[in-house]
């Protein structure tokens, strides 16, 4: 009886010691690597953004100038997604937003769409997809240059019916055998452009008096604001569709636009 007790308590003790030592090791490694990892992740994110938006088009600390966009059917999102605002010498230069094409051949296609202030697309990149390898994956820049068709296109240049693959009467190429994938991407990019046009005032003009001297943005028509944009979950109105927690990043936007990149 006594030996059984001592054996099991010794066993439990050993297990406990291993668990404690293991946890301590993990916690220690985590604490010494955390800042470096965060820095690396920001760089990686920036590198991805820079693929869609050339670095010489902006001079602000883009990664910290985040606007949380509420879920919107035009973006295909069902939860708030970040949008990054690029400025050049204090002037709005471009907006990088995430869009989702929900109707890919095998599920959602996640896109990063960079739209310049003049409404031209700077670039589109596929962030994540699960299209058939070797068939529908040519939307990925690693496989094919197809995605570059979107560069410099705008809603002003192409009419609504042009935003389709050639098979459907539009202006975008596709590869035989995989039409569903490009169709979904073209549709999603066009919707993102529409979202940008509808909300450009809210996306760029931030209601601050820090830059009153800048030329007003061309706003062709008053943005067709919808409830999804301006109402926070508790019904409180926020001018930009921002959540309260984003106020900090918003303020930063105005304080440090002159911060030039090295």
């Amino acid at each position: 009886m006594r030996t059984a007790l001592s054996i099991s308590s010794r066993t439990a003790g050993v297990l406990l010691i291993f668990a404690v030592v293991g946890t301590a090791l993990l916690a220690y490694t985590f604490s010494i690597t955390r800042t470096t990892i965060e820095h690396n992740e920001e760089l990686a994110k920036l590198a991805l953004i820079n693929q869609a938006l050339p670095a010489d088009l902006y001079d602000n600390d883009l990664i910290r100038d985040v606007l949380m966009l509420p879920a919107d059917p035009l973006l295909g999102t069902d939860e708030p997604t970040p949008a990054y605002r690029a400025t050049l010498k204090g002037q709005p230069a471009a907006l990088v937003l995430e869009a989702i094409a929900p109707d890919g051949y095998s599920g959602k296609i996640k896109l990063l769409v960079a739209i310049r202030a003049n409404g031209e697309i700077s670039g589109v990149r596929v962030v994540a997809h699960s299209e058939t390898p070797g068939l529908g994956d040519y939307i990925d820049i690693l496989r094919d240059d197809w995605i570059k068709h979107f560069d410099r296109r705008s809603a002003a240049e192409y009419k609504a019916e042009d935003w389709q693959v050639k098979k459907d009467g539009g202006k975008f190429d596709y590869m035989t055998g995989a039409t569903i994938t490009p169709r979904a991407v073209v549709k999603a990019v066009y919707k993102a452009l529409q979202y940008f046009e509808q909300h450009r005032a809210a996306l760029f003009v931030t209601g601050s008096d820090a830059h009153q001297d800048r030329t007003p943005l061309p706003t062709p028509s008053p943005p067709q604001e919808r409830d999804t944009i301006n109402t926070s979950p508790d019904g409180k109105k926020f001018g930009l569709g921002l959540r309260e927690g984003d106020a900090g990043s918003l303020r930063k936007f105005h304080v440090e636009p002159q911060e030039a990149k090295p």
């Binding site: 066993t11 050993v14 690396n40 390898p133 690693l142």
Partner: protein, 228 residues
Amino acid sequence: MSLADYSKIVKNGLWTQNTGVVQLLGMCPLLAISTSVVNALGLGIATAIVMSLSNGAVSAVRNVVPHEVRIPVFILIIAVLVTVIQFVMNAFVHPLYLVLGIFIPLIVTNCIVLARVDSFASKNHVLPAMLDGLMMGLGLTVVLVMLGAIREVAGHGTLLAGLDLALGPSAKQFVITVLPGYKGFLLAILPPGAFIGLGLLIAGKNYLDQRAAAKQTIHPQRVEVAAT
């Protein structure tokens, strides 16, 4: 341990007890990742490093772990080790992490790691245990790379595609187009291609083994000559 023991460990890992085509352990990552040579090599090397380190760590504590709770302790050690490696790689060798990162959590689920820890490391000294882990991992790497090569050539008609992701844009020149203008063969890239390819590899290994055994029975003197 004598030199003969060490060479036996090497031979076991690379051929006799090969993880990929003999023990058939860790099939899940093997079949999922072997779509190209570069992917296969990445997973293989990461697995070899983890196996070597976890074998060494377990061997070092083998005398203080009670037999009844050895499995939970081993799993704990492997999980801690893999997570620490993941943190350190993410922080200090980020480009490599971006390539191998997705494979590292997969390694924890690879039962070959636990199998070697329990059947070899818990009964042997640190050095042979680490060698065993490394050789088992390299044996797996060889199978993975061969399977990756088969699937990549049959599926895309290329070899080493994606190397630039691992070694920078200058590595793009090493990409070999085996079959120019090849339209691709989807079956090879999808999971059935992995099963078929692995089946061929196992058959090939068994064929070589049988031929060697047959030779030995027909010409026993030839082996003696070779041995002297």
